[in-house]
């Protein structure tokens, strides 16, 4: 079991006042709330914060924790409580707050977990006959564009809460293989009926809600249902018009570049975006590129071109 330095977690000193602890907790809780932060480990951090605050905001728990802290971790960072250690504050004294205490660490559980009559018990006392629907669980699922495009089968891991033999609520890791239909968009949700946390007292299980995220693609970007691709063309293709080969997701098509095309011009390939009842389009953004080095012959031709097109002023709108 690892020792948890709750002061470090909350970024406060050992001598911090209750006000400082509260202030720091509130600030960090806003920063690391999993619904707010984009950091991958925000969920973990937020849990740690809740656990640290649970202990340090309670004068009794804090005093006990300070004693344990003096006793300290072993050289390898692991921690064993002193022999005969028993928390006084865990029993009775207010119990848990409404923080999600079910996912606190083993360290917390070992030190303060004695009095879990309220928070972590599902059975026991009057609750025994309670029938409760299991909670819905939200999982985020990052997908590659090709997977979104074609549909795929993915493994999804998430934690559900359920009662163990003693009626304690524990977190259990669950993994499912899920068939993702083609054409899902970023931010869309899938619902897997009955795959969330089990119900209590014969209550119905909750659902798993999967939120789709899209991993960045090296070539394509996605806007709603449309797929956007920048395609380089030569100046002569742009000037004279040409038929060029353009990749689409999983395939390729021939596209006609109209005569007299400027850089940034967009071509719409109908129905080549994300599939679905209303399939999206692929937007091709043309970008004129020139070789890094021209041959002497080409340079001569450009000089002729410059002479022939002397009247063309691309900067006429810049009021020079």
């Amino acid at each position: 079991m690892d020792f948890k330095d709750y002061y470090a977690v909350l970024g406060v000193s050992e001598s911090a006042s209750p006000e400082e602890i509260k202030k720091s907790y509130r600030k960090l809780a806003r920063k690391y709330h999993p619904d707010v932060s984009k950091e991958d480990d925000a969920g973990e951090k937020f849990k740690e914060l809740g656990e640290a605050y649970e202990v340090l905001k309670d004068p009794e728990k804090r005093t006990e924790y300070d004693q344990l802290r003096k006793y300290g971790p072993q050289a390898d960072g692991s921690f064993q409580p002193p022999p005969g250690w028993q928390s006084e504050s865990g029993f009775g004294g207010g119990g848990y707050t409404d923080a999600d205490s079910r996912q606190f660490s083993d360290f917390f559980e070992q030190m303060f977990g004695g009095g879990q009559a309220g928070g972590r018990h599902a059975g026991g006392g009057f609750r025994q006959n309670v029938r409760m629907r299991g909670e819905d669980v939200l999982a985020r699922l990052p997908l590659f564009l090709e997977e979104v495009f074609n549909g795929c089968e993915k493994q999804v891991s998430f934690a559900v809460h359920e009662a163990d033999d003693q009626g304690r609520i524990v977190a259990r890791q669950k993994t499912l293989k899920v068939k993702i239909p083609a054409g899902m968009r970023e931010g869309q949700h899938l619902r897997l009926k009955g795959q969330g946390s089990p119900g209590i007292g014969g209550g119905e299980p909750g659902d798993l809600l999967i939120e789709v995220e899209l991993a960045p693609h090296p070539m394509f970007s996605v806007e709603g249902r449309d797929v956007v691709l920048t395609v380089p063309v030569t100046p002569w293709e742009a000037a004279l018009g040409a038929t060029i080969m353009v990749p689409t997701v999983g395939s390729k098509v021939n596209v006609k570049v109209p005569k007299g095309t400027s850089s940034g011009r967009k071509l719409r390939l109908k129905g080549k975006g994300l599939p679905g009842k209303h399939p999206g389009d692929q937007i091709v953004v043309l970008q004129i590129v020139i070789p890094e080095q021209h041959s002497a012959e080409a340079e001569k031709l450009y000089e002729q071109l410059a002479e022939a097109e002397k009247k063309f002023d691309p900067r006429s709108k810049l009021h020079l």
């Binding site: 089968e153 977190a171 890791q173 993994t175 293989k177 909750g206 939120e211 070539m219």
Partner: protein, 113 residues
Amino acid sequence: MSEKDSILTVEVMDSDGSTFTLHEVCERGECHAEFVIKLVNYGIISPVEPSAEARQWLFDVAALARLHKARRLQRDLKMNLPGLAMSLELLDEVQEMRREVARLNHRLQQLLD
């Protein structure tokens, strides 16, 4: 804390289609109807047919996910309704902007290559 992972192949029941009554979202969100009605009045979530009476409201999966989010924010950050409404709107905006920035960066990278 974790038992051996169970691997199961499941089909997705519904993507867009399914809806939930006011009673169902209350049960799932572990909240009173009053709270959901307030969320609707503040424009935080909306039923599929906003004109209908509260008893006839139906919510889609996205609204349900948003209700869960609102409940988490309210519980964890002790927010009141106007604060929730504003935060959720700003969070949406931030997320949209992050996506936009990612898209633009991506395109810029392509132009510079």
